[in-house]
């Protein structure tokens, strides 16, 4: 029965391989991918609901009992992210139909998207740190292919930076794994946690944990985000939406796993460092979001700000903080994907990326304008929308832990988000229209539909957060009590 939990990774992987052989049949590739992602979402939701009744599930490959074999673990936290990944990617792929272009579709676009999702879901599900490294590589190789797909000049230039950074950070990841294995002698996450508790988190282990922090902060864009704005603003909109919604979140997931499950004994050192890095991220991201007039750059810096904000939830290290962080993580995956899709649509309509060259879009595209406005409000955290509950709980956690500096900077960064995005909204949607009547392109339904669906999800999550509240509480409880996780894994 537990065999189910390999499916969110296995379905996209096998389907991606199948698509390689069906390269000439674009129509099949399109609808096949969407169908596969819908199935994947359904399976993930079913697993998520099963966990609520049966507790944490695990799958030992080849019947090698932990800690000896590789295993997949599905707890509420990881499955919530898997479900969100599957749903977001469904809409991103739908959006890609009309916008990605025939040339890229023939260059195995859908195959690489499938592999990307397999890697992301695998990273969320695995319970073994070396397997986590392998899943990261699966995801990254697919992302290398996606970011260079099409081979435009500026794409090539930015992707070289992206690949070089990620190859080096993967080597650092491997170094950290080597040191940890040399010290602790195991690779199973639960077993590592147990052994660290037994021997105490010695200074040596703390140094290793900081090495892991360095690796994941490069991947998630925590303080070391300098590669991110460039590489997230060159690929086509649908790919940028996948990257912005999924890739940094995998790094954040790994940070949460490592610093709540394994290295939680010395919060005076590790969590202080993370707090400092989150602070720099918030400030740096805010400066970047205000500095540019290029819409895609502004949106990329907004991705960075949200990374800093989510990590406040990890720094405060309490159940409330974790709950807030999980709510905000889910909200951010939906809302950032939506924001990038809307921004991309505006660029497609006006053929410019600079907001001061756009004007009066709301006359011809009222729905687009309203959706953009709602997304901005959701990202800032206005009450009836999805960002509110996450921000509230993170703030509550920060007050309880006495992290007032982080709290104030976090809220100021929300104001910057409001300022930077409202600036886009007012410049692009208000004023006299620049498009002459001949220039007005009709917006096809297939472009608007994914945006509309994501908007509805963002509103629904805000109005009715109780729908996922018990699951989020369970996830936060597991994060706050690592013993629950360890017992589920090592209790044979």
């Amino acid at each position: 029965m537990n065999n189910m939990i390999v499916l969110p990774m296995a379905i996209p992987l096998l389907f991606g391989i199948l698509l390689v052989f069906l390269q000439p049949y674009i129509r099949f590739q399109r609808w096949g991918t969407v169908f596969m992602l819908v199935i994947n979402s359904a399976v993930s939701i079913y697993i998520l609901l099963t966990i609520q009744t049966k507790g944490i599930l695990r799958l030992d490959f080849g019947e090698w009992l932990p800690p000896f074999g590789i295993l997949f673990v599905a707890d509420s936290f990881s499955m919530l992210l898997v479900v969100t990944t599957s749903i977001v990617s469904t809409f991103a792929v739908l959006y890609a139909f009309a916008t990605i272009g025939h040339e890229r579709e023939q260059l195995y676009f859908y195959t690489f998207v499938s592999f990307l999702i397999a890697g992301v879901n695998g990273s969320f599900l695995t319970g073994d740190i070396f397997n986590l490294f392998v899943m990261f590589e699966v995801m990254l190789l697919a992302s290398y292919a996606l970011i260079t797909l099409g081979g435009k000049k500026f794409q090539l230039k930015e992707s070289i930076v992206y690949i070089a950074i990620n190859v080096v950070s993967s080597s650092l990841f491997l170094i950290a794994i080597a040191f940890l294995y040399g010290t602790i002698g195991t690779l199973n996450m639960a077993h590592i946690s147990e052994r660290i508790t037994e021997v105490g988190q010695t200074p040596l282990l703390t140094v290793i944990s900081l090495l892991f922090l360095l690796v994941f902060s490069i991947k998630s864009g925590l303080m070391l985000y300098q590669w991110l704005p460039g590489s997230y603003s060159v690929p086509p909109t649908a790919i940028a939406a996948l990257f912005g919604a999924l890739l940094t979140k995998v790094g954040i997931y790994a940070l949460f796993r490592f610093f709540t499950l394994m290295f939680y004994h010395q919060p005076g050192i590790t969590h202080k460092v993370i707090g400092f890095m989150a602070l720099i991220t918030l400030i740096g991201g805010s400066i970047g979001a205000m500095a540019y007039i290029n819409i895609r750059k502004i949106i990329s810096y907004n991705v960075i700000i949200s990374v800093g904000f989510i990590l406040i939830g990890l720094v405060v290290a309490s159940t409330v903080g974790y709950e807030g962080a999980i709510y905000y993580l889910i909200h951010d995956m939906f809302a950032k994907a939506l924001l990038i899709l809307l921004g991309g649509t505006m660029i497609y309509l006006t053929k410019t990326e600079l907001y001061d060259e756009m004007s009066g879009l709301i006359r011809n595209y009222p729905l687009l304008g309203w959706m953009f406005f709602l997304t901005v409000l959701a990202l800032v955290g206005i009450p009836p929308l999805s960002g509110f509950i996450g921000k509230l709980l993170i703030a509550q956690g920060a007050v309880q832990a006495g992290e007032y500096v982080l709290l104030i900077v976090g809220f100021l960064s929300s104001l910057i988000v409001l300022y930077s995005l409202m600036r886009i909204f007012m410049n692009c949607f208000w004023g006299e229209t620049i498009l002459s009547e001949d220039d007005v392109k009709p917006l096809r339904k297939i472009v608007l539909l994914p945006c509309l669906a994501l908007t509805i999800i963002v509103i629904a999550l805000g109005i009715y957060p109780e729908s996922i509240a018990p699951i989020v509480q369970d996830a936060a409880k597991t994060l706050a009590n690592p013993d629950l996780y360890i017992k589920a894994i090592l209790n044979n």
Binding site: F154, I160, I163, A164, V168, L187
Partner: protein, 111 residues
């Protein structure tokens, strides 16, 4: 043996860092390849050297830890794929941008 290996690995990291900081892309790629080799040596050292070949005859005695070697094997395959991809990308970039110098690529953003 461990000391020698650690020093070798450190020496390789030094070379890799030097190459990574150079301006030619091809040197950066060689740098990443050398870096992964250094890491593989480190992984092997972490498994320890004292001991026999892992279980062949079922004899009792000290065996070498086989896990690091499995990890190295996986990692070699991955780094092979990444390096191949990176080289092809660089070749493609060289054909389009007519340079392999990272400094000269800076200005080429929007054309």
């Amino acid at each position: 043996m461990e000391t020698v290996m650690i020093i070798t690995s450190g020496f390789l990291v030094t070379i890799a860092v030097y190459l990574l900081l150079s301006r030619k892309i091809i040197q950066v790629i060689v740098g990443t390849a050398v870096l992964t080799h250094a890491v593989h040596l480190l992984l092997m050292t972490m498994g320890g050297f004292g001991g026999d070949v892992p279980i062949i005859n079922g004899e009792k005695g000290e065996f070498v830890d086989a896990i690091p070697q499995a990890l190295i094997l996986t990692s070699i395959v991955i780094s092979f794929a990444v390096t191949a991809f990176f080289l092809v990308l660089t070749y493609n970039a060289y054909q389009q941008l007519h340079t392999d110098d990272l400094d000269q690529m800076r200005g080429m953003y929007y054309e």
